[in-house]
């Protein structure tokens, strides 16, 4: 190894080449190690992530009514659907859908009158308004996405149906979201 520095064949890596590669790699590694905390600090903090699940009393919502509640700072629709709305959603199960889903897959079995969805339009996050659009469901006021009575996307720029949060029925009148 002692004669590596004076090796006549230039293509053969020298000790200096090795030191250069080692020093450069160490510097790049250190730069990444320093950059990561500076980037990751922007991600949600532990106290933000710790926001717990919520319980909601469904007796507050009359038939045909809808409330918007806040879960993890996100708006959630709790809609008490009328039989007409459910029938209309089921009738369109086989229609041409952008994000195909049956009405049954949008609700919990035995609780099909309760539609619980994240209220953020899957386009750019505005809250759609019920009663707008030609499918009897929601119209997003920002960019005109139209959802039907199962909150499925039917028209406009949004790519997905309104998202379903994780939730479970604790009883017939109480639901736990999150």
């Amino acid at each position: 190894m002692a004669d590596a520095l004076t090796h006549p064949d230039a293509a053969e890596p020298s000790r200096r080449d090795f030191i250069n590669i080692l020093a450069t790699s160490a510097t790049v590694g250190a730069a990444v190690a320093v950059a990561w905390p500076l980037i990751d600090q922007m991600n949600p903090a532990a106290d933000t992530l710790a926001l717990a699940s919520i319980e909601f009393d469904l007796t507050k919502v009359a038939l045909g009514q809808e409330v918007t509640i806040s879960w993890r700072k996100q708006p959630v629709f709790v809609r008490h659907r009328t039989p007409a709305e459910i029938a209309r959603a089921k009738a369109d199960d086989n229609a041409s859908l952008k994000d195909p889903a049956t009405d049954a897959s949008r609700v919990k079995p035995g609780h099909e009158e309760w539609l619980i969805v994240l209220a953020s339009c899957t386009h750019l996050g505005c809250i759609p308004t019920f009663g707008g659009g030609e499918y009897g469901g929601w119209l997003c006021p920002c960019h005109g996405s139209v959802y039907d009575t199962a909150a499925r996307i039917r028209k406009g720029p949004a790519p997905k149906n309104l998202y379903l949060p994780d939730y479970a029925f604790l009883s017939d009148t109480k639901v736990k979201i999150g």
Binding site: P44, K73, G125, G156
Partner: protein, 439 residues
Amino acid sequence: MSGPSKYEPKTGIERWLDSRLPIIRFGADLLDYPTPRNLNYWWTFGGILSFCLVAQIVTGIVLAMHYDPSGAGAFISVEQHIMRDVNYGWLIRGIHANGASMFFLAVYLHILRGIYYGSYKTPREVLWLLGCIIYVLMMATAFMGYVLPWGQMSFWGAKVITNLLGAIPVVGPGITTLLWGGFAVDDPTLNRFFSLHYLLPFVIAAVVALHVWALHVPGNNNPTGVAVKSKSDTLAFHPYYTVKDGFAVSLFLILFAVFVFFLPDAFLKTDNMIPANPLVTPPHIVPEWYLLPFYAILRAIPDKLMGVLALGGAIACLFALPWLDTSKVRSMRYRPKARIFFFVWIVAALILGWCGSQEPDGQLFPGVTTFNLIDYDLNSVTWISRFAAIYYFAYFLVITPLLSWREKTLPVPDSLYTPVLSHGAATPAGAVAAAEKKG
């Protein structure tokens, strides 16, 4: 800087400093910079924009002394504390808020000047690219500043714009969460936007320094687009253009003052006088006027990713312009066809701006139904946006390259001096005379 420096230190202190930090020489050379003698008033927007940047930074630093970047306190600190209680707070905030619109008005005229007179062409491509970067930084800064009062439009604007990035495949949602610092737009978002809103103007100032540097290597373009050939084509920047720019800034300040003192709310939306509410979207959400054309392009396309790509592409076209337009003639004074297509492009951009301000299901002729095509009736704001957006892109991607290749241009004068001296009388073609009337 072009040419040898003419500065001669006169006192002992100046000589001492000149051999250590030649900063006086630097300033003297800037003032003495040889500038084409035929620059018209469209060339004064550089000075106007410098004024705007300084005004925004000075008023912004003062406002930061009184502003509270928390979800609970932001709205009150702006609408009550600064606007009513802080001495002259109403004035300083009025200048800052309206100053953003004035800044964009000036930058759009500056960009249109650059396109009309071919200022992006060789050897000024880097100058043009730096200008495009400044424009993008300005939009980012303005957007984050608009969020700070934490009214309804602030909040929902922030949500919509950050969600735009969520359309990027794979990494998009992660970037959105990174920007929010939570599950939705919330306190952490407001805090970081405040931090970045304070930082970005200084980044803009640095890029402006590069922009001016890149300007001073080839020197200014001019209304004829003919290169400077001799010293007699130029005048010293000071006093000739300091005075011209100064006069233009004064006129611009009159318009600025009209807004600050007589129409302080003209650019504000009433919805932004309602504190941010994450559970209610305002019925009609629109961005500031200077972003409306891009907003209309976004809405014209019924697909999230494609809409966002079109929005980005509309800005990317500006960056690509030096390589899309290969015509040897710089100034549209001598490009009769390019001129017409350019003016139509301005009209298309204005139409897009109007469409962006309308509700998404709006109609051109209320109540009239024609026939449905790709989800929307032809008599809809959506279809008007689509037609205008198609022209917007066609102008850059089809018309400009074709014109570079096919257009029969008018004779270009031998020197930028010729049309100035002749007033059109002794020029070879009537075209130059016609161009003079426009100048």
